[in-house]
């Protein structure tokens, strides 16, 4: 390989760094004694910083251009760089937040950190996929790591059960996705996403029978819905969120959502834009069901992790509102706005989700899991600052201004109204009202009720700092949402 070729392949630098870093970590961790595990921890943070720097560098060199590598299997564009950066941040937060929690439970082993990095690599591959095959490759790499992470606490029957469920259902959905991909391949003769887009455009123009393609699309959407976690493919979410150690729940509830969003963008928007009419209808149904099932079922939960699991389902339904509002009667004029809305939503959601689970980790101590609603009672008396942060998180999840969550909802609702889905927008706001109830209940528990025994652990300073930043950034984006929105728009425009 000549130097020139190596330079041409520079856009995969972040992936290479994460891969090498994960491998190095595996080796280093063998030599590290368990009481000095912090070395592995720092190494992982170093890998993340290096990857982030590489991503910024790639973006700086490429600018708004799209670069295809490895005969079109891999794409590097502004979207991929942005989403990767969000993933690094989420994984960074996962590391910092879960450190004390895992240490207390004897789970801060090399496996956690290594699997986390490999999962991150999977997500990065999904994000940069430009072929159905690469999508699948990344997806499986990520999923397998996550299955193992859920079972990290192998003595816990709950975790093992959750991992088993996750694995079986995950395998099933991967099967669905593969089946759909094979259909699309059969219809178009290619797995390459740009090629698929070109052929479907021809097919859509001609009068030929498209039912074969649409049949494949149904399976692709089903597989996608499972990975995003929207109803009626949501069954695994509550069990996995509940059963996994909270640190792992944080991982599952954050960065993989970004990767799943990327998967939707690559396969549906980049790959099958001419079937938009078909998949938009499917997504509309999924969105409505998710918002309804997620928000209504969440009310009945007394376990915080389960409640947040249902809230995820509802939020992903909201995110879909943006994705499904792009093409209006074959007209793609406002598509950029709609996809910007979805992208903005997913980023804001990840910030909220990381913060909420981070708070649970913060409040858990050795021998005590903060996972029931009652565990939050009277938090505003025992630690007013963190209660305030949780207040911001909850109001942001509920979509009340002036928090970032409001603008996320506003953006997707606006997209839906523009696309003429007025009924969907009305249903969405009514269901978000239902949702407001259970977020309010948490605020109520924290502020109106008296605390139970025992105060919160002080937590690591690094964690306190990051958690504060995490909460305040939602307020910052609530007061000045323009920054992030503009970035999202530029990224989508370059798509």
């Amino acid at each position: 390989m000549s130097v020139r070729e190596i330079i041409n392949h520079m856009p995969v630098l972040p992936e290479v760094i994460v891969l090498l870093g994960a491998c190095a970590l595996m080796l280093v961790d063998l030599k590290v004694k368990s009481e000095r595990r912090i070395a592995s921890f720092r190494l992982a943070q170093g890998v993340l910083i290096a990857a982030a720097a590489a991503t910024v560098f790639v973006q700086w060199v490429n600018g708004p251009d799209k670069l295809y590598l490895f005969s079109g299997l891999f794409v590097s564009d502004a979207l991929s760089n942005l989403l990767k950066t969000v993933c690094y941040a989420a994984v960074w937060a996962a590391l910092v937040y879960s450190r004390q929690y895992l240490l207390d439970r004897g789970l801060l082993r090399g496996e956690f950190i290594t699997l986390l990095l490999f999962a991150l690599l999977g997500m990065m591959i999904m994000i940069s996929a430009s072929s159905f095959l690469t999508v699948y490759l990344g997806l499986e790499l990520m999923s397998l790591c996550l299955y193992a992470l859920v079972a990290l606490n192998r003595d816990s029957p709950l975790s093992t059960e959750a991992a088993m469920k996750y694995f079986v259902l995950g395998a099933l959905s991967s099967g669905l996705l593969l089946y759909g991909m094979s259909m699309v391949y059969g219809a178009t003769g290619s797995l390459n996403i740009t090629e698929v887009a070109r052929v479907t455009a021809q097919l859509a123009g001609a009068t030929t029978d498209r039912s074969f393609l649409v049949f494949g699309l149904v399976f692709v959407v089903a597989g996608l819905a499972f990975k995003i976690g929207v109803a009626p493919f949501h069954m695994w979410i509550p069990d996995v969120y509940h059963g996994a150690p909270t640190a792992v729940t944080l991982v599952i509830g954050s960065a993989p959502k970004v990767a799943a969003f990327a998967m939707a963008v690559r396969m549906l928007i980049n790959g099958l834009p001419d079937l938009a009419h078909d998949w938009q209808e499917m997504l509309a149904l999924l969105a409505l069901l998710s918002m309804a099932i997620g928000n209504i079922t969440a009310i009945a939960q007394s376990n915080l992790k389960r409640m947040l699991a249902y809230s995820t389902i509802a939020h992903m339904g909201f995110m879909l509102l943006g994705l499904l509002s792009g093409v209006i009667g074959g007209n793609r004029l406002s598509a950029d706005d709609a996809y910007t809305a979805a992208l903005f939503y997913v980023i804001v959601y990840v910030i909220m989700s990381v913060g909420a689970f981070g708070m649970l980790l913060y409040l858990s101590r050795a021998g005590f899991e903060c996972e029931n609603l009652d565990d939050l009672k009277g938090l505003s008396k025992t630690s007013p600052w963190f209660a305030f942060l949780m207040l911001i998180l909850m109001f942001s999840l509920a979509g009340i201004p002036p928090t970032a969550g409001f603008y996320a909802k506003l953006a997707v609702l606006s997209a839906a109204v523009t696309a003429g889905y007025l009924w969907l927008a009305v249903a969405a706001v009514i269901l978000s009202l239902v949702g407001a109830f259970y977020y309010l209940r948490i605020v109520k528990l924290m502020y109106f009720d008296d605390p139970k025994e025992g105060a919160a652990a002080p937590g690591h300073p690094e964690m306190r700092l990051l958690l504060s930043a995490n909460g305040l950034v939602l307020l910052l984006f609530g007061i000045a949402p323009s920054m992030l929105m503009n970035v999202c728009f530029e990224v989508i425009k370059a798509l």
């Binding site: 505003s380 002036p402 409001f406 506003l410 606006s414 109204v417 706001v429 605020v443 503009n486």
Partner: protein
């Protein structure tokens, strides 16, 4: 044109003061926190004064405007400005905030910093609601006020506070979410603009107007509150701490009525004309039926809460009469109600702090132990009943005049309030204040301390001044109200 951004100051001074109070530390530092809060509130009021003194009475348009791009993607501007309709509410709100801070001085014992911070932040956001000329900015402030109020009711409220707080929050959120969808629709129709003044000019078909009318109606009707969506109000008022009730009655209820004037009437004039019968009917039900309901209340706070619903019925009635008497009368009524209901809730607070009971039956003969208090409360009771020379009379009389122009029977039903209002207020006053000393506790009551005297006297002065010289208020409104009426008379189809 003044170079100082007065409206921004009126919004951000209280909010920053609230943050400062929070930053001032824990429970031990309560004294300093109170002084910071008072300083912030006073400063917040002072910066609003030039809005009145420098107000151009001849101009119907928006004054003291500020405009900065805020969210490019949605073409949202940080656009502030006041006209004759809104300027008085900014002043009223800043004035009431000072009183609330003083009133809570020795009463609030737990979590002092959070208490004052909530009120100050809310005060800033309420100013923002009245000053916004951009619908999304309006919405952000409108919804944002829910958070501090929710905390205020829930943390410092009465025994049933959680229920009341959640009910308050969800009720109002339901209304405002539908308003958001309506706003998004208008945003699209207006070609991607959230500017309220652009919406005023936007032509809309009648059926669209009617849909939007109902979309906005729920948001504003819940806030006012109009019959039959008023049921959250008695609960919220009864359970809220005194300061919370005061702000709720004096300012928060005005948001709904203000929404009608700022949004519904000018943006949807044809639907408003067409559905005015509905609004008038609902208002009359509020005035007459809720007036009767008020009569039978046994809890003083609940009684005043219901009387608020009845009085706010006058505001909605006045707006939908489409004549200058009606609209100006309604606006005067809103301000007057801000003074009077605030004062009555403070009076009840004064008694509650001493006796820890709101039941009328627990009182009697208070005049024997608290003569100064009885005298002041007398004035407010009279104002609530609409006695001439108090502010309560002016608004009601103007609205009844406006109604008379439309139909005799309309005026007749509206005028029943003069009887009902007098009955429930004075009857309550008689049972609580007059008669022999009812029980030992009443016998031990101490009269007003200087802080309470200051607060109630300030309100008494405002009530009397407005009753004797209402021109000071109406002259500000004239130009804007006439402009509004001209605008509403033109069809937009």
């Amino acid at each position: 044109m003044v170079s100082v951004p007065l409206l921004s100051l009126s919004i951000w001074v209280p909010i920053l003061a609230g943050v400062a109070v929070l930053a001032a530390g824990g429970e031990g530092n309560a004294r300093n926190q109170k002084w910071i809060a008072l300083g912030g509130a006073v400063l917040g009021f002072l910066v609003t004064l030039p809005l009145y003194t420098k107000f151009d009475l001849q101009s119907p348009g928006f004054q003291f405007t500020e405009r900065e791009i805020w969210i490019e993607r949605f073409n949202v501007y940080y656009h502030l400005g006041v006209d004759g309709i809104s300027v008085l509410f900014v002043l009223l709100n800043s004035f009431i905030t000072i009183l609330v801070v003083i009133a809570g001085w020795s009463v609030v014992e737990k979590r002092v910093s959070q208490y004052y911070a909530s009120f100050l932040v809310m005060s800033g956001m309420l100013n923002g609601v009245f000053a916004s000329l951009d619908a999304l900015l309006f919405y952000v402030f409108f919804e944002g006020t829910l958070i501090p109020m929710f905390i205020i009711i829930g943390v410092w409220g009465g025994p049933n506070r959680v229920y009341a707080a959640v009910k308050f929050f969800l009720y109002t959120l339901l209304g405002s979410l539908l308003m958001l969808v309506s706003m998004l629709y208008l945003y699209n129709k207006a070609g991607g603009s959230f500017a309220i003044t652009d919406w005023h000019k936007l032509p809309l078909a009648l059926d669209v107007q009617i849909w939007l009318f109902f979309g906005l109606l729920l948001a504003f009707a819940v806030k006012v509150p109009m019959w039959p969506v008023h049921t959250w109000l008695p609960d919220a008022h009864t359970e809220a701490p005194t300061g919370g009730s005061v702000v709720l009655a004096a300012i928060l209820l005005k948001l709904g009525a203000y929404g009608f004037v700022r949004f519904t009437l000018p943006i949807l004039p044809d639907a408003s004309q067409k559905l005015s019968w509905l609004m008038i009917a609902l208002s009359l039900i509020a005035i007459a039926y809720i007036g009767l309901v008020t009569l039978v209340q046994t809890d003083m706070k609940r009684l005043i809460a219901y009387s608020s619903v009845s009085h706010m019925g006058f505001c909605t009635l006045g707006f939908f009469l489409f004549n200058a008497y009606g609209v100006e009368g309604a606006l005067v009524q809103m301000i007057s109600h801000g003074f009077v209901s605030a004062a009555l809730f403070l009076c009840i607070g004064v008694m509650y702090d001493r006796m820890h009971s709101r039941a009328i039956a627990d009182y009697g003969g208070v005049v024997n132990t608290m003569p100064r208090f009885a005298a002041l409360m007398m004035l407010f009771a009279m104002a609530n009943a609409g006695l001439p020379a108090t502010s309560g009379f002016v608004g009601e009389f103007m609205v009844i005049m406006g109604a008379m122009k439309k139909s005799y029977w309309l005026a007749f039903v509206a005028a029943t309030t003069l009887i009902l209002g007098a009955s429930y207020t004075l009857w309550m006053y008689k049972r609580v204040i007059f008669g022999g000393v009812a029980n030992e506790q009443v016998g031990k009551l101490k009269d007003l301390n200087w802080r309470e005297t200051v607060v109630l006297t300030a309100l008494a002065a405002a009530t009397l001044f407005m009753g004797v010289y209402p021109v000071a208020f109406t002259e500000v409104m004239h130009a804007s109200v006439n402009d509004l009426l001209r605008h509403v008379a033109l069809p937009k189809l």
